[in-house]
């Protein structure tokens, strides 16, 4: 009987929600727009999806054509997220050509360009043993230019993070590339030099066959983060719906009807749960179609994550609805809760960037557990079902606590 009565209220609320354009805009259109804006600011919209899928694309202009320069490019190409392209150089001895490659930014297909200048290998040989054993030291003062290297970034990809990452990868590759030269000077490095073989011929390693589709990495973070954040925006919309029902007097009419308060609460909560699931599904499908996002190696695992996240969001909405008394409370307190929990949880800034204490505090929010589950599924080649299960379990625990408080408050009010 409770389910039948609840279903009647759910149908009524779904009808009302379908006529509430503001709610639909907030829940679906707004996250899409924000994801698109943030995504486009990183230069990773659908047009250059293929490039982005490979991670960092570095064009190598090798004017040195030495064994060491080939090793450098080869080790650089061996990193999972790096795709190396060989630059076509018409005349290596022409200084103007070298100048052009050193000054002009790379084309849109490439994030960075590594220019290996003609004197690269001989400069390496000139360096002292101390500097050779610590290439980081050799490039610290004058940068890569000290060893006749130059790294130029694409205009759209010119962000400090990407440049820093590329520079670090070049330095790491350099460490491996110079091992034979180092072994000539320091015999103890001979073994390491012998073992230091370029993993694949870098010229043919442009596309790594068999590499799992890890999707557009930017959107692997943005879409789940903003989806989780906006799923919890339901709290505001639910608060408004309850308040409106109270102000219209219809909540009183529901209470004097021959139906239980549990049926009323379930009936009022279910439409938002359905809406939340629909919102998440739309955002995930849009993420895949518009932004090239991957659903991970086991896409079916998205379903329990979506379900548990929506359950936690709607239960929080229910609790908030029974606590809020006025429209201004819904607006001010609701937005405060939403924005602060989004910030704490890692929806706005990745949790990995937070200090350890903040990372621990973030676990007090359901958002963080939802993000953990999405991260496990969407960014790992072999997601751990146990880890996803733990996150989903925590989300259900949050849901149960929120629901019990909401039910208690609703009955106490009546």
């Amino acid at each position: 009987m409770i389910s039948t009565d609840a279903f009647k209220i759910t149908l009524k609320d779904l009808r009302l929600l379908s006529r509430d354009r503001r709610a639909l805009v907030i829940l679906v259109a707004m996250p899409m727009v924000i994801i698109a804006i943030v995504g486009s600011s990183t230069g990773r919209l659908r047009d250059n999806r293929e490039q982005s899928r490979q991670g960092l694309t570095i064009e190598v202009a090798d004017f040195n054509q030495s064994e060491t320069s080939r090793r450098l490019a080869g080790f650089l190409a061996s990193y999972d997220s790096v795709k190396v392209r060989r630059a076509e150089i018409s005349n290596r001895s022409d200084a103007k050509v070298l100048e052009r490659f050193s000054v002009e930014r790379p084309t849109d297909e490439n994030d960075m360009r590594l220019v290996i200048r003609p004197g690269f290998e001989s400069r390496i040989r000139e360096l002292s043993t101390t500097l050779l054993t610590s290439p980081d030291e050799s490039t610290r003062k004058e940068g890569l230019a000290n060893v006749n290297l130059a790294l130029i970034s694409n205009e759209t990809a010119a962000d400090p993070m990407m440049e820093g990452l590329a520079k670090s990868l070049v330095k790491l590759s350099l460490q491996n590339a110079i091992l034979p030269i180092l072994a000539e000077k320091v015999p103890s490095f001979r073994g390491a030099a012998r073992d230091s073989v370029i993993p694949v011929a870098w010229e043919t390693a442009a596309v790594k066959a068999g590499t799992p589709d890890t999707g557009n990495r930017v959107y692997q973070f943005f879409i789940p983060s903003y989806t989780v954040m906006f799923v919890f925006f339901l709290v505001n919309i639910m608060g408004r719906s309850f308040l409106s029902e109270r102000d219209l007097g219809t909540l009183g009419r529901l209470r004097i009807a021959p139906i239980s308060s549990t049926a009323i609460l379930i009936g009022k909560t279910l439409p938002f749960f359905i809406l939340s699931l629909a919102q998440t599904i739309i955002l995930m499908i849009s993420g895949r179609l518009l932004f090239g996002m991957s659903w991970g190696p086991q896409p079916w695992l998205l379903l329990p994550i979506m379900f548990c996240t929506s359950a936690a969001a709607t239960a929080l909405g229910l609790m908030f609805s029974t606590l809020a008394k006025t429209e201004s409370q819904v607006s001010s307190v609701g937005n405060l809760i939403l924005l602060s929990s989004a910030g704490i949880s890692g929806c706005l800034v990745p949790r990995a960037w937070m200090p350890p204490l903040s990372q621990k505090i973030s676990l007090l929010t359901p958002h963080a557990w939802a993000l953990d589950a999405y991260s496990e599924l969407l960014t790992k080649e072999m997601p751990s079902i146990a880890a996803i299960g733990q996150s989903c379990g925590m989300l259900l625990l949050f849901s149960a606590v929120f629901y019990v408080v909401g039910l208690y408050r609703f009955r106490a009010d009546g």
């Binding site: 007097g249 009183g252 009419r253």
Partner: protein, 315 residues
């Protein structure tokens, strides 16, 4: 035989304020019972406790002999409530509103749809049935508010100030609907501070003030407590010394004008009233005193309330 509704010693307190103080009354099946009192008298609180929306601090309510229990929703199935404030969804049409509220009382399918059509016809909203109620006038919304409460043919209909803010045409329509419902056997509790409406709709009434029941009886019995008064204004300030009137009549000065007032408690004795008026007019004529105006004050609930409480109903 037990009454349809028995309200027994209901008490509701908010801190130091006693909103309802030991309220007791019965309502028989098919009876229209009025609950009269000014705003803040405790009528709405009493109504909310009767319909189960508010828990009583003390006392109980029985419907058809069974105690109404707030934790047992099914006990509310036979009761309809028209709340004081509108309680309809503005973003649903009139038909959608009634379909929804009807379904809450376990009506379904063709029976529900037929009942919706019937009730819409009853309240005169058939032509606007599929329009959003947000576009309705205040009176139309009130009629829909009423319709939502009678979808399930309740044996008891509670109306809390159902005509507040309603235009005269809609008010007349609503009162007609209520009378028609009562004639078809539905018991009515009509809470209002409009004593004229209570007098038109109800056969019995209770008068409340400050949470207490001051009087409860049939309307004619209640009105018997108030005399029928006649007032003759003489248009002059002085009356001759030898003027002798009926013993119950008194001559008073109201400003610059002499006024003759007399009253009778027995309204049924029209002959006595005629005789008194004739005698006084004859006496005045003998002294060449002309009468400027004659005014009668019939007994009504407003005057009864004034007598019982010392203040007017709408104060």
């Amino acid at each position: 035989m037990a009454p349809l509704l028995a309200v027994d010693n209901l008490v509701k307190k908010y801190g130091d304020l006693t909103a309802v103080d030991l309220l007791s009354f019965d309502v028989e099946a098919g009876e229209a019972f009025g609950l009269l009192g000014p705003n803040g008298a405790g009528k709405s609180t009493a109504m909310m406790m009767i319909c189960g929306l508010l828990a009583a601090d003390y006392g109980e309510v029985r419907l058809e002999g069974r105690r109404l229990d707030r934790t047992r929703p099914e006990s509310r199935q036979r009761m309809g409530v028209v709340p004081q404030d509108l309680a309809i969804y503005p973003d649903l049409s009139a038909r959608e509103n009634l379909l929804f509220f009807g379904s809450l009382y376990h009506l379904s399918g063709s029976k529900l749809r037929r009942k919706v059509d019937e009730v819409l016809e009853q309240v005169g909203l058939t032509a606007r049935a599929d329009d959003l109620t947000d576009t309705f006038s205040g009176g139309m919304k009130r009629r829909l508010n009423f319709a939502a409460a009678v979808m399930h043919d309740p044996v008891l209909l509670i109306l809390d100030e159902p005509t507040v803010g309603v235009d005269p045409q809609s008010r007349a329509h609503l009162i007609e609907c209520i009378r028609s419902l009562q004639q078809s056997g539905t018991a009515i509790i009509y809470a209002s501070h409009y004593m004229e409406e209570v007098q038109i709709v109800c056969t019995r009434a209770a008068i409340m003030d400050h949470g207490k029941l001051l009087a409860c009886d049939t309307i004619p019995q209640l009105l018997k407590q108030i005399p029928f008064e006649v007032e003759l204004r003489l248009g002059q300030s002085r009356v001759p010394e030898g003027l002798s009137l009926d013993t119950s009549a008194r001559i008073e000065l109201d400003g610059d004008e002499a006024v003759v007032r007399f009253s009778t408690q027995d309204q049924s004795c029209e002959l006595a009233l005629n005789r008194d008026v004739t005698n006084i007019l004859t006496a005045l004529e003998q002294h060449s005193i002309s009468v400027r105006s004659i005014r009668t004050h019939e007994p009504n609930l407003e005057r009864l309330f004034l007598k019982l409480t010392g203040h007017r109903l709408r104060d």
